[in-house]
Structure formats: structure tokens, C-alpha cells
Symmetry: none
Subunit: 253 residues, 2 copies
DNA sequence: CACGTCGATGCCCGTTCATGCCTGTTTGAG
DNA sequence: CTCAAACAGGCATGAACGGGCATCGACGTG
């Protein structure tokens, strides 16, 4: 049996039974578990299956994105520390722009109940989290909602940010460096991020150290657009020094 | 059972029953409480559930009614029937405006996974629910978010609806009658509803029979702005007749 | 036909993941 | 205010994972 045949069959089994597991597939097709894993990985990349630990589930069967429901990764811990440190940078009252991103979301979730803020965001998860916060006047920025990030983008979002002026913007980036500035994989999202940080008097960037020196497709600003970078101790003091010389204050939480 | 499957099921149970608790989930799935806690934490981080001591409640509930035990569940039953009937009125493809409201939210949650639609909504819970639907191009309408209904209102929302034209709008009302039309308690919300139904070629009203002959503070349209009313069998045939004579088709689910 | 290439598969081994158990701390109901 | 239940964090364990390397057979070229 050829690999594509086997994968086809695996897909059928998965759709049929709602799930498959590596060990029984290996037994079934008389191959090793490694081979099955490679098959599942291929099907996962093709978007036909969703890989889970121990097996796979047909795509679309789960009505939420598991990559949003990130498990206990090691990064989660550092993101939490960054989020807590960021909290200290929030004004006691005033207006705040919150970018999309898991670290920002975590910070939003930790905003104390007695805070009194006006918050503007284009992130759906963050808005959902803050909607019932009694002290927060929430404004959602409209637009087309990207599936992967659940953030609003395009014309409505750009125009909305063009019409406001906030005290602080808390933004995230997939990559940042002194030379290439702030980057993210998606162009539409980059445009909104740029609009968001332009609309604020003070810009705070939350990014764990793994993002340093990364560059992605779309650039949305220079590092000196950022007034304060909050990151973790994974960033070397030398790198921190480079960034500070470029004019951005650095906090290593 | 894989962790994501279990989490999916927990989410379903939570949305279904309004709440879940750690101990019964642990029993139900034959795992320890620690594992359930980890699941709930993951779902909480993803913004799908709100963690509380002892369990969790679904994020973005429209109203936290004190006891949704019995009185709610009977109403829920009828709302579900209305929601299902409304589903049949959706175009196979095209653009759809969804108003805020629990019945509309139920309908949105029941949109089949193979649907291919463009959906515009100013309701945060509905947007959150549809954001990961693979076949739906979702647009969120921006604006100030009202705490009680978690819907966007005011200038941004009004302008957005003024700029679009949809095939169908599915709207809800707190009260409806032939004489006083469609009413709701909040003025700002009424303005958005009016803008939403003006932006659609066809207007479908979802309202259970308890809303009939009710009038609230803010009026956002006449009954003959509505092309089709979907309600439950609690509406008497005579009342239905009155409404149909006024030019609105009535479906009693 | 001989030889080199390449893709598929299997094997090995260090790493990660999911889960359970334990312990000290926090929470909230009475 | 008290106390049992719930929680968080640390640790242990076995299964699952994934990258690197070896093998094997199919294929193509000279």
C-alpha cells in the first residue's frame, strides 16, 4: 500500500469514527507509529485533520481553535510575568488601546476590578473578556475578523483608530529587532497595528524574548516608535542595551 | 478520550447548562479534578469559559439570570425551536446581519459547519461564537459596548450599518405589537437595530410569544418593516392573523 | 547493466506531554 | 471566625513525540 492510499484511508477512518489514534492505525496498516505520525502530520498540514496528542481528529469537528487554547507551555509562564509587569504600566485612569495577542489578552484578564479605564480594542477575545468589567468603558473596533487571530482588520478598523487618541497603546509583535523594527506575518493585521500605535501617546510593547531578532513578512513600525518594551529575562543584557540605546526603555520581568 | 475532545465537550456542557463544576466533570470523564482544572484553565485562557471557584461558566453569556433552572429552561426550549426554524430561513449563501439577543445567538450557534455566509453583527457573544466557523466571513461592527447586552452601539456602529447592504437581517425585540411596532428598553440600542434592519433587503424577527403586545421605551421600527416573524405556539392564531393582515408573514415553530 | 538519487520507512534516544499524586495555601459558606 | 473544599505548584511517570541516521527498493541516466 502506498503512502497516499494509506493517508486517504486514515482520513476516511477519522471522518467515519470521529477520531483516530496512532497505535491502532499502526497496527491496522502494519507500519510503525513513526510512519503514522508522518501521515497525520501531512494530513494536519493539509488542514484535513487536527493533530492531537496520541492521534487526530477530523478538522472542523472541534469548534474552537486549539492553538488559542494553548496548554501549559513553558512560554505561558513568562507571558504571565510579562503581563503582570505590564499591568504596572497602565494609567490609573485614562484611555487604553489593546492590540490582539495572547500576552496582551492575559494582561487584560488581570486588570483589577477596581480599575476605571476606557479601553479600545480590535481583539474579539479581549473584548469578550473585558465586556463585563464594571469599571471599564469598552469600545470595540469593527472590521473583518481574521479567523486565526480573532482580530478585526481592514477599512473599518483603520478608520476607527484614525479617529481616536489614547493615552497608552499596549501592542504585541511576532518579531522585533533594532534593525527591522516590529513585524508580524499578516499585512492586514500589520496595518491595524500601525494605526493603533499611531493613535496613542505612549506605546508599550509586550514581547517575550523568543521574538527578538525575528522578522516576519509585514512591518508595522520601528523599534523607536515604542516607548517601553516589556519582555522576559531571556533577553540578554547586551541586547537590552542595544535596544535602550535606540531609545526604548526596557523592562525585563 | 483526548484532551481537546474533553475540552470541547466541557465547553458544550457549559454552554448548554450555563455552568459546570469541577467535581462532576471529573466524575463524568473519569479523570481527576486536577485534569479538569487544567482543562478549565485552558478554556479560560482561550476566552471561551470564565473560571469561577468550583467550576466555570460560559464566557459571554447574555444575562446571568440568577436561576436558569426551570423557568429559563422552558423558555430555552421555545427559543431553541424558534432558532431552528430561523435557520431554515437563512440563504444558502449571501450576507447576513445578526442582531444581538439570546435567541439570535442560539440560531448563530446552530449554523451548520458547511454553511458559506458573510455575517455582520454588533453582538460580541455572537461574534465570539462565529469567529472560528470556517465557512463564515465574519465582520464585527464597532462601537461602544453596552455591558448588559454586550452589543456595540453609537456612532461607529450606526455608520457601519449605513455603509452596507445585506440579504437578510435577523433581529430581536423586547416587545412587538401591531400598534407600537418594535421596541426595546435602550435608546442607543434601538438606533443600532434600526440601522441594522434598514441595511437589509429582508428582515426576519425572532421573538417568543411573551414579547407580543409588550412595549418598551425605545421604538426602532414598525411591524411592517418585518417581512417574517418567527415565534412560538404561544401566540394565538388570532394575534397571528392580526400580524399577517399587517403584512408580516408569521411562522409559529 | 551499474551506479547514483530519492522517497518511504524503520529504528534510536533525548524531549515533551498528559495525567495523577502530594502539599501547602486560598476561598467562601456557615 | 472557622474549617472543609477548592486551588496552585511541584514532582513523578509512562506514553507519545520528533529529529537524525540507516536501510531498502524504485527509478533514471549514462
Amino acid at each position: 500500500m502506498y503512502a497516499p492510499e494509506r493517508q486517504q484511508e486514515i482520513l476516511r477512518l477519522a471522518r467515519d469514527g470521529g477520531r483516530v489514534d496512532v497505535v491502532s492505525l499502526a497496527e491496522e496498516f502494519q507500519v510503525t507509529a513513526e510512519t503514522i505520525r508522518r501521515d497525520l502530520k501531512a494530513l494536519d498540514r493539509a488542514g484535513l485533520l487536527r493533530r492531537v496528542h496520541g492521534g487526530a481528529i477530523p478538522a472542523g469537528r472541534l469548534d474552537f481553535e486549539p492553538d488559542l487554547a494553548e496548554r501549559e507551555s513553558t512560554a505561558a509562564d513568562e507571558k504571565d510575568r510579562i503581563a503582570r509587569a505590564a499591568l504596572a504600566e497602565l494609567p490609573a485612569e485614562g484611555t487604553l488601546i489593546l492590540d490582539a495577542g495572547s500576552t496582551v489578552a492575559r494582561m487584560a484578564a488581570a486588570i483589577p476590578p477596581d480599575a476605571s479605564l476606557t479601553v479600545v480594542t480590535h481583539s474579539l477575545p479581549i473584548a469578550a473578556r473585558l465586556a463585563d468589567h464594571p469599571g471599564i468603558q469598552l469600545h470595540i473596533v469593527g472590521g473583518r475578523v481574521r479567523h486565526r487571530t480573532r482580530a478585526a482588520v481592514d477599512a473599518w478598523a483603520l478608520r476607527a483608530y484614525g479617529e481616536i487618541r489614547a493615552d497608552v497603546a499596549v501592542v504585541a509583535a511576532n518579531g522585533f529587532s533594532v534593525e527591522h523594527g516590529l513585524t508580524t506575518p499578516d499585512l492586514a493585521e500589520a496595518a491595524v497595528k500601525r494605526a493603533a500605535l499611531t493613535a496613542a501617546r505612549r506605546v508599550v510593547l509586550l514581547a517575550d524574548s523568543s521574538k527578538y531578532a525575528q522578522e516576519h513578512f509585514a512591518r508595522f513600525g520601528a523599534l523607536d516608535d515604542v516607548d517601553l518594551l516589556i519582555t522576559d529575562t531571556g533577553l540578554t543584557p547586551e541586547d537590552a542595551g542595544d535596544i535602550e540605546r535606540a531609545g526604548t526603555e526596557v523592562v525585563r520581568a
